[in-house]
Symmetry: D3
Subunit: 293 residues, 6 copies
């Protein structure tokens, strides 16, 4: 049903034409999504949320894509977060249009809006293909929300991170508070950075496990991300998409539930011809070729 109308050709970058995003296909089976509003430090206006969600929903089902790189344009920022100035002008989550003075009615509108914004971010987590975020420069607020919904996080040495929301009177509500405690290995550190909104650097992010690689500058970080994307794209897409799904599922549930879901998932997936192809290639020392997924 969903799949019926979705047959983009490989590298059909022109089909991904969005004002603030550059979508390219730098090599076979790899997509590159660049946030592109560098003159505003890649800060997000509402339209960008909707667009990034749409882009990843399409990449999720694009059979020519097996790994995705997410970066920010320009040297100064991955993203500075929400464009507060634009948001303050109304119709946004921090300054909602108020058709009613009643608290409950405002609350209802707010809840719908927050859920809708969250869903935009979750589109990256739901994307069936692994996503590698490469952060650099200013990476505040939304930068965390977005990259925490990705699978792998790499950073340039210069990256300046901040969970910024308490500084504008908010408990972060688009995903950071739900995902950060499961992404790193120090509950004390999580509370520290979320409660103080202090800026921290790439080495600290590496030490606590927020990122899994730090590189000397943006160029080196993006190159490393591209290399990892290429490595993933060379594997069976049945194997990599399944690995993403099963890791995300298991993160949140008991080991018993994880094992059960895994068995049911694989009762179909192990029947793929890719296992045979991979084994044969292994024996023959050739590179296996896998059909599109």
């Amino acid at each position: 049903m969903v799949s019926a109308g979705e047959k983009p050709a490989a590298g059909a970058a022109e089909e991904y034409n969005y004002e603030y995003f550059n979508v390219s296909f730098p090599q076979e089976y790899v997509a590159h999504v660049e946030i592109s509003r560098p003159e505003k430090l890649n800060a997000f206006v509402e339209k960008m949320w909707l667009n990034i969600s749409a882009i990843f929903a399409r990449l999720s089902h694009n059979p020519s894509v097996r790994a995705i790189l997410l970066t920010g344009a320009g040297e100064r920022a991955f993203t500075a977060g929400l464009d507060v100035q634009a948001a303050s002008q109304g119709g946004s989550i921090i300054n909602p249009l108020s058709p009613s003075p009643d608290v409950a009615r405002k609350a209802n509108t707010l809840r719908r809006d927050i859920l809708a914004f969250q869903a935009c971010i979750t589109a990256l987590e739901r994307c069936e293909k692994p996503v590698i975020a490469v952060l650099h420069g200013i990476s505040y607020g939304l930068a965390l929300d977005l990259s925490l919904a990705c699978d792998v996080r790499l950073a340039a040495a210069s990256t300046a991170f901040s969970v910024k929301e308490v500084d504008i009177g908010l408990a972060a509500d688009i995903g950071t508070l739900s995902r950060l405690p499961k992404a790193v290995g120090s509950a004390s550190w999580v509370k520290d950075v979320c409660l103080s909104a202090r800026v921290f650097g790439a080495e600290e992010a590496l030490r606590v496990g927020l990122v899994s690689g730090v590189y000397k500058d943006k160029g080196a970080a993006v190159a490393a991300g591209a290399e990892l994307a290429a490595a993933i794209a060379s594997k069976s897409p049945v194997a990599t998409a399944g690995t993403k799904e099963l890791l995300n599922y298991s993160r949140d549930r008991t080991v018993e539930e994880g094992l059960r879901y895994t068995a049911v998932w694989n009762m179909a997936m192990v029947q793929t011809g890719d296992v045979k192809d991979a084994l044969l290639s292994g024996l023959k020392k050739t590179r296996p070729v896998f059909a599109k997924l």
Copy 2:
């Protein structure tokens, strides 16, 4: 209802008059709770459990408090844990009064008592305001139970930690076994220290994420804790209390459940005037003043 009778004035330290605890208000919106039985290495007798629970329940609803510091008096210990000698004299969890020789009846009494002790510790986690524990010197057994129920853990370089319970024939039951696996980033390390009861130091605690800062001595550690408390106290209390609640909730549940609860929480909280005040202060480069919570 609960809130009705709870109107402590700011800095009303005299209202927090407990034998083994010093409660002070060193600066606006910051409370300092000091465990004070230094002649016994701050070891806990039953009365202290009840008192610490009462203190944090009151601070939780005290509108003049936005961040809390927890420390131990004296140079030698944060706390050496349970006062085993006192506990051995009967009427305690490790030597319960035995009104009946029947195993089931003893079990029932024990369960009530364990749940009651656990609730005393959980009072720190349930406290709506962020709590920063600063550990130093001997920090055994209960020191872990208590500090794991806090939000941020800092330590002096000399701190000697131990999950001590297996050494007295017990699986720790007041909270460490439930909270430690979620507080640090190495399941192997958790099992190691809980099964061996070995003493470990502050650097090791930092490496695995148990604490998020190590300082040269107690004085420096307490100063760092106070500084962090002041930083948190300067933010909107709506934002910091919400951040604590949402992080604790999400730690234990699926990302989906975390996001849903967050949206419902914030449909009320985003309506606070603090957002506007914080944004304006940001623009004007002034320090925002937030009403009490």
Copy 3:
């Protein structure tokens, strides 16, 4: 019922006679299980799965055992994982016998088989006594599945780890994807190594918390494991078995559920005489002697 027929004498190694495993009792209350197919890098054929499961099920209820060491024979590998060559010849999880060409019927057989293989691994986690895995050399695929079901992981400096499954077209389904996200402190790193199947070393494993100790060579690592096993074996078995159970339970559930289960567990276990014995020994500076469990 189960317990009725299970009365192995201490050190009755001859009762643990399995083709590819050496089971010994190097010291009181410590069992040592060695995977022993060194000529094939300790790669697993089906029989070995069933045997390791049987061994740990028996050790679980063996009252003469309080801690278990798991190692691999030979210098080259802990285990290279599944014996792919053997598995390719049919009747295995990656090349199942196909009594039917129908996809659903194959799926049903596969699900049964995956669940059965998972249960073999889970036997290590279910074993009531703490298990310490010491890894060295090649430690691929199944090496991770197995050691993640252990309680403590130590490694020789030379260990080469890899979550290998995506290289043969599979999402790992025997346990790694369910347990790894809960064992280490970096979700980004977990995705990295599981999606790329890249080899990583012991220092990296230590940094992310996968292992809790790295030693210069296999000999030193095994010695450290044996020392830890001896330390655990010297404690009350009521305390150590309870600690394992409660940590595993709590890892997967909310803090509230963990506390409740802990209270119910300990309403029986605190009634043990071991508490009194441990306390008295502590006062008398003697080594306590605990009855078998």
Copy 4:
């Protein structure tokens, strides 16, 4: 965001123009959705799934709607279920287009399609406004899936129900198996009707709790449904939408989780002016008028 573009006027039936559905607004705040393909016993083709989902998503946010009635056109059937003939011609869930002969790739397509179909049904459960289904005549397969996602189920005496899926070689996967065990009070009966696919009548449905009212014929049942819809529509929409949300949430979770979510929900909603208006109307014996939600 979502709410921005959604300002349908009350009774704007012409805006809900879908080929196989009649949407009307028979009285203030009540919407009536009629499945209208009577010549085919209201059997569903793919387009209808998408349309019914779109209709309920719009009604969910339509401030002029407070209760919704769902019925089937004609005398013979609420719906006979999936139009098997159309579905057999390819591109459907039971006969998917097969771009690839690989089992894993087909599985992936199937999973996407099943999730998409499920989401169409779940749109009725997610609709913020209470939905009352009135069944009559043939009510097979999809009739159960759809009505179980509604809030209240009423039936004409002549209704013939069947959980039909096993008769076409399928375990029902669009919702019946997930929702039926939570909708009625006999697990034995649930298994009986799901495993045998036998037809059962309205009285039996009433006895086990599947429906909460049975009426002599379709006319009487629809009239009763309309009356209930009108009663619900006369209440505060803050109260009725909250009641639906909280009942659905609590059905699936522990009482403790239900209570906690309820408290957080109501900390906003109790601030509505509707409480005061309802209380005053109660005292004055007048009918309260509530603002739109």
Copy 5:
């Protein structure tokens, strides 16, 4: 700890002296709690909430109590629910004192208050001893909240039930919406009565399983409740308290979790001497005497 100060003598009714409740001990091991504000249809003012919670907390640990009967004084009502008139005068859940005009601050106060009210109701569910509610006459709002937290519900034929909250602009938040879906066997009926606030009778309550017995008048219903209480009180209190705990636990969790918790519970409780006493009494046809719990 908790248990230390709690040594009420059997039948010490004078120790349970509360303005609006009569607590008596009509026979050995049976307590009777009567809501007694008949001139106001037993409507609840705030003080009554606190008192009923305190009463059940004490009965929970009173060793002379094995079963509890809850009834309402007078002929007209079990309880008409919240005393809306008193509540409207401020300082209550539906008209909170408003120390601050800020929505978030009001929300925070409301959440505390709702949680506190919920906890009063939950005290009946947490009471270790089985509680039998006997309803009669007007049984609105709070009557449902309270009786759903009891174990058994009986009713006089004349009882008039109503889930009243939507009529005052509220989604019921003290427990009905969390407990009702788990108490009866028709989700459709639950939504019907909660969304319409319609009054329903005892026969309907019996048909859907809300009550398990209906009697001709209040006298007969109370007599039946007393008889059941006496029957329960004649059993081993270890057995009946365990049965209550395990049924409540299992209601909310998977069967697997229920079985596991049960095994851990009973590893202590099966060691009671009551099993032997009960078996011997069974053989000797005598009535067993069990020690206090």
Copy 6:
């Protein structure tokens, strides 16, 4: 692996040779398991637990079986429950062999034994094929545990049910307390019968949903069970086994989790040829023939 050694021929009743059970294959694809110790009212001794578990584990994977009937031999009882006399002689759950006087060590043995007994009962729920229990005469204690682990429960009019455990000082721990709250539609009734141990009849069991059919005598009830078994056996085994699995899974989890698991399950199962066969047979009005599962 498990499946390898399991190739029983259809109707190979002689392979199911157990002292207290008659296993027959009365018609194609239907197995009949009869509890056969009528001279002792089919009361269970330990050996019978192990045997019934083994029988259902084998039937689960027997491709010649698609539905199973469970009955009790003789006219007087389905089963009177545990053979208390035998159990009292030691080595059983209610009178365990006591190798140690230490409470914790006894508790450990008891826990192992309870888990092992529970697993015997759960074997019926885990059996992949639907199981229909037909009860008659005395059906106490274990009769409930066993039949609640079946899928459908039918009863003769004369059946006398009782949840008997509280009468021997126990909270039922083999499954009734975990499964009964999910099997029927009245929490009040569940507490009533579990706390009072009173005997109730077939009509009452039908009214609350415990059984889904009552017949005039044992003969009629068994005939009805056999007819239902035959009906289930005539369907696609892929469909019926999947239906059992998905209903059991969903009963215990949120609707969202149920839907997700269902989609993953069916991404393999919908690929069966049975769908096509069933559809064609439907068109041709012939009876479909399905391959073995």
